[in-house]
Symmetry: C2
Subunit: 243 residues, 2 copies
């Protein structure tokens, strides 16, 4: 399994991915599920992947290899908007599925899904999800985050706290709390977390950090949240006595 | 879908169920998914149901009709312990599946699952889950709650706050917060909530209440929790600046 989360705000983007890859519980590895493709000063694109690892790596490799090729429809560095980039991811996915899908099927699910977030000069930051069918949806101001993989455990905290006006570092905090909820309940989601915090109009990939489980900030955040939540629940009104 | 939750504590039990039944999004009804079978002063048993409604109603009807029949293995009022009650639920489920399963299969999933919580004099409160196969597991002091139906959205708050030593009204509060998280994210889980709060050694079914969405206590709880969580997240340490 996997957990990837994208958040799009007026202030920027938060893109986060876990690192666990597994084929059964007895075959576990750490992989990077976030790829940044950037032209400093002009465009920054983060691609997060879930699903079949061979498929998602093949898609990302085709995309990164085509950067600088000058081929329209293949070279992300030429795309004038992020919608076109998301569609390119979908196209590469369809190509890989055409080539590998029928061979992989006897062994399991060959499909992958993707989150594509970023900013291309001239546009605000945008965020898309690419489905296994290769079609795409975009996050809107009524649903400013998208998730792929194990999405449910980490969703309530996002629903309760995020709006498109949330400050960037607040959203990054909430993203880590969402990952913590998921990590506690699903063994097939695991650290480290690749966390990319992107400020609108900065056009730089510098905001990517990798948080190990023992990261002092993440530990302090987890502890303070756990204790704060216990105190909050205790402070809430008690149910009325039985009728 | 459905969400049912059982919590077993030293102080007693909390058993809670939603009310939505649906066959697709265009055919929705309210049903009661909690049944209490009690002999005041001696035993109180709550049965929560998820899955195929015809199957779960058939199982519960067989169980309630057999109360007072004096038939060992069928009359819950004769069972000397809650394990035997949970096994009886499993037996009735197997009988119903034997009878109806093959007819229902062309239309969808015929199976159901159950939570069985309660206390029989001479035992502490106990809580069991009955699987679609009719076999059962018991909650322990390392996992003092069990869930059936749409379990994921409402699990993190339970993981973070419940222990076997939690006071009964704290656990009831947390149960309602867990339902709130689930209701927000899954349209096929809906109010009212049937909430049974049982104090150890009370041997009474009086603690059953039905909370409509507009229930003043539940509304106040939701609001206070939402506001408190926003304030908590804001108070947490911010991420360090990018490396």
């Amino acid at each position: 399994m996997t957990y990837c989360l994208g958040i799009v705000l007026k202030a920027g983007l938060v893109m986060a991915s876990d690192s666990r890859s597994n084929a059964g519980v007895d075959q576990v590895a750490n992989v990077r599920k976030q790829t940044l493709i950037a032209t400093p000063g002009e465009r920054v694109i983060s691609i997060l992947t879930a699903g079949n690892l061979a498929t998602s790596q093949a898609v990302v490799t085709r995309l990164t290899q085509a950067v600088g090729s000058g081929q329209p429809g293949e070279d992300i560095a030429l795309a004038s908007n992020l919608f076109d980039v998301a569609r390119m991811v979908g196209e590469r996915l369809r190509e890989v599925m055409d080539k590998d899908g029928k061979f992989v099927k006897p062994y399991g699910d060959a499909t992958s899904s993707f989150l594509v977030g970023g900013q291309i000069r001239g546009e605000p930051p945008r965020l898309f999800q690419v489905y296994p069918a290769g079609n795409v949806i975009e996050a809107t101001d009524r649903s400013c985050f998208l998730q792929i993989g194990e999405t449910k455990y980490g969703k309530p905290i996002l629903d309760r706290t995020l709006t498109p006006d949330s400050p960037l570092d607040e959203a990054a905090k909430v993203a880590l709390l969402s990952f913590d909820a998921t990590l506690r309940s699903n063994l097939s989601v695991g650290p480290p977390i690749d966390l990319f915090i992107y400020a609108t109009e900065s056009f730089t990939a510098a905001g990517l950090q990798t948080l190990e489980e023992a990261n002092p900030y993440w530990r302090a955040l987890r502890t303070a949240y756990g204790e704060g939540l216990m105190a909050l629940v205790e402070s809430l009104p008690r149910p009325p006595p039985n009728p």
